[in-house]
Structures are given as structure tokens and as C-alpha cells.
Amino acid sequence: MTPAFEKLQQALKQLPGVGYRSAERMALHLLVEKPAQLPALVAALESAARTVRRCSRCGNLAEGELCNLCEDARRDGAVVCVVEHVPDLVAMERSGAYRGVYHVLHGRLSPIQGVGPADINFAALEARVRSGEVRELILALSNDVEGEATCHFITQHLAAETAAGGAPIKVSRIGFGLPSGGGVLYADAVTLKSALDGRRDYV
């Protein structure tokens, strides 16, 4: 191993989900085994680093000031779906069922990991709501203690705000339950409990 190689390996190891061994494999792959791929990767990294940033309104990936969703005039800008991470937004979009816009928090409250309100993209959400542009908030955060606390925090802060015109803001949280197409038989006990707790009136 050479000093430059080790430096690269150290840098790769900082990436999420990459340990010492995989960092070594990646570095060997890029430098020795398939060096032809390297220029394309370097160019892609440089270009992305120059152009990709957070959308100043919603926190989604953007190449200009705003992301393509915020710029899309056909979307309903008064309905905002709050998610933890960009991949959550991508998953919602894949469903094709949603015509509003988003707000990406880039995390959630977690005192144990030292994450407070100032560490997530919350102030920007507050500003959006205060400006009166939001009529409805849909909270699509994870179904666990931290997700629950973050929902509660947002609701407490913003429930008293009103949309332009003075109507109170509607806040809802997405439901949790059985995967569609999946029967009761194959769900684990904890999912069944969650589905049962979240049951709705029928008829």
C-alpha cells in the first residue's frame, strides 16, 4: 500500500455503509483493476459537486435555486408532504399518487444521536408555513419513537399557524399498516398491531 492509496481508502471509509474492507476493494478497483472507469467518475463527482445543491425552498436535490418539483406549475404548492430524506421523496413520487410539493428535513429529532431542531431543515419549513403559502401538511415520517416525536414537534410549532385567508392549517400523518397485496397471514406481529391501532371506520 502507498500513502496516496491509504489516503483514498481513508476517504472512502467515511462514506455511509462503507467499512475498511470495502473501502480497500473500491480503491483497488478504481486505481488498479479498472482504471479506465476513473476519469468518468472523477468528472461526474466534479460536475455534481459544482451543480447539485439543496432546493432553497424544500430541501430536495436541485441544480438551480429551486428543484424541478417546486418549479412545476402543475403541482399544488399549498399541500406539503414532509419527509425525512430525499429517497423518501423519491419513493412517494414513484407511487404517482401525490400532486402536492415536499419538504425534506434531512433527518429527524434524535437526542441520543445529538440531533435537535436546529440540525434538521425545520426553520425553512416554519418559514414556508408562516408565509401563508401552505394549506395542508402531510407528515410522512417513520413509524418509530423519533418519527413520532418529530411529528409532534412540527404539529406543536405549526398547528396555530393559518393559511393565507385565515383558515387553519390541516395537518395529517400517513397511515401504517399491512403492505398491499400482503395478507394478514404474512405480516409480523408488530406490523399487525400497528395496523390494528390505525384501523378506520368502515361503511
Binding site: I112, G116, P117, E148, A149, H152, A189, V190
Partner: protein
Amino acid sequence: MRLRRLTLQNFRNIAMAELSFAGRQQFFVGPNGQGKTNLLEAVGFVTALRSFRTADTRLLLAQGQREAAIACDFEHEVQGATKLVIRLHGEGKEVACDGERVTRLADHLGRFPTVVFSSQDQQLIRGAPALRRRWLDLTLAGTDPVYLHGLQNYHRALAGRNQLLKRQAATAELAAFEQPLGAAAAALVAARRRGVAALAPHVAAGYAQISAGAETADITYAEDSAPGDGDAAAWHAHFARTRARDLQFRGTMSGPHRDDIDLRVGARAARDFGSEGQQRSLVLALRLAQVSHVRECTGIEPVLLADDVLGELDPTRRRRFWAALGEARQVLATGTELPDAELGAWDVFRVAGGGFAAEAGP
């Protein structure tokens, strides 16, 4: 279920052991420090993938070894003949059931029940409330993944709030975590109350079988605080109300993590008023209740691991206790001396220096 074959490798002082169990009762005899309890610890490990002696899995590896293994062949009421292999190493453990990797603890819990009877068990009566809560939590979580999930949720929310209290965080952040904490507290207390109510008749029945006296034993759940209706809203309000005090102490001073279980013999607190003999009988009754509960919830007969408990009982209690274990269950027991002939036929293994030698049958 029955444990028919046990193979251990590099487990504490046991370099290698391959044991076959033909009968219902196995006795491991030898001086202290030779490896008797280590063997029971290995068998007990299969139940919840944790040791009944230590939380640090690394201590289970033989000195200087990087990996240990526990392999068991079971005859199982639900799964038929089943092979379970557990590999322990410095970073954790890998579990395979009939060659299939087990990745979630919730999928594993309750499938291979064992119940440990230990000479340390009297601490359940004399020791701190934390020991009794742990006994209850392990008993209930061992048969109910929803209970385990709720318990984990409560502790996660509690750790969050405690961290915020330590940091003297703003009210809004504390209030945000008191919401899930309140919901988890209400669910946990309700589940524990139901659990204790289900265990109580088993405790009373076990005590009556073992004890020579006429008095009865009884357990109840004792709440440290019981706000309002005990529902999520009442608990949420409780944590909001106690916030100022908890900020001063920098920790959550009340809640289900402070609860206890009242143990009584003849309507008096067993800890303060029970005689030595009554306490011994009660502790065995608690373990027997655990056995019945597992059986009732899972339909699986647990394997009993009796670590040096026979020697401590007087002959009458010992005979009654043995009768209470029932004819159906497998028992692995240890002691420094062989048990009386009246406790039935045993497969006997002499234990010395981490080695096990089967004694020829009678």
C-alpha cells in the same frame, strides 16, 4: 422440546464437548469452577441469544479464541427435529436454524425456550426492584414480540427524554418526546399488569406444591406512579407535569422504569417477613410460573436448567419441587454431589477442567 445433542466449541473453559442426551434428566457433577455452569449458560443462550450471567458476549469466548460455537439438536413440538447453530465472535453472533440464517431477534424469541433455576435466584426476592422488572420483562418478551417491541419503544423514548433533560433542552423538544413516551408507558404498564395477572395463579399453584406450610403466595404489579386512567393521554400529562422536577434532577424520576412487583407469602411482604424456607419456595414458584407461562403461550415445553439449586433445599422441599417439575420436562441439573435416588434416573456426566465424561448407566 428436548435437547438431544449438544456440541460446544471454545465456549468459556470448554474447548470442545460433544454430548448426547438419551433420557429426560441429565446431571453434571463435579467440583466448582470446572465448567458445569458454563454448559448450562451455553444451553440457556439459545433462548434469547443472551447469557443469563453476563451482557458481554465477548466473555463467552475461551481465552485467546476468536470464535465460539453452540450447536443443538432439538426434538421440537412445533418444528420437529431442528438443528440450531450459534456462532459467537468479538463483533456479535450469527444464528442458523436448520441452515437458514436468523436475522431478527423477534423471529427467534420464544422458539427455543429454556428456564434457568439458579442459586442466585433469591436476589429476585431480596434484591432491587430492577431484578424483578427484568424477570418480568424477560418472561413476557420471551413469548410476545409485541411486548418486546413496546418495551424497546419505551426505553428508546425514555433515553431520548433523559438526554434532553441532561442537556436542559427547550420545552418544545421535551414535549415532543413526552408524546411517544406517554403512549409507550401506557402500553407497557397495561401489558405488564396483564402479564402479572396471568402469572399469579401459576405462582400460587407452584408455591402450594413446594411449600409444606398452609400459607399462600401471591404476586401483584406495583406501580411507582399511576396517573389518571393510565392511558396514553394521562401518562403524557404526567410527564409534562413532572418536567420541571425532572429538569432539576436531569433524569426521568418516575414512570414504569421505576415499577416493582410485590411478592407476598401469607399476605405479608416476602422480602421483609418471609422465612428462609418461604423465600426459597417462592423463588422456585416464580420460575415454575415462568415455565407454565411459556408452555401456555407457545405450546412448547421449555428445557429446565437447574444450576446448583438442589443442594440448597431441605429433603422435603427438594422432593416436592422435583414433583412439581412434572414428568414431561427435560431437566439439565448441576451439583457438587449426585442427587438422591428418589429424584429418578439420570444421565450422569462427570465434569473436570472443561471436559465432560458420560458415566455408564445403571
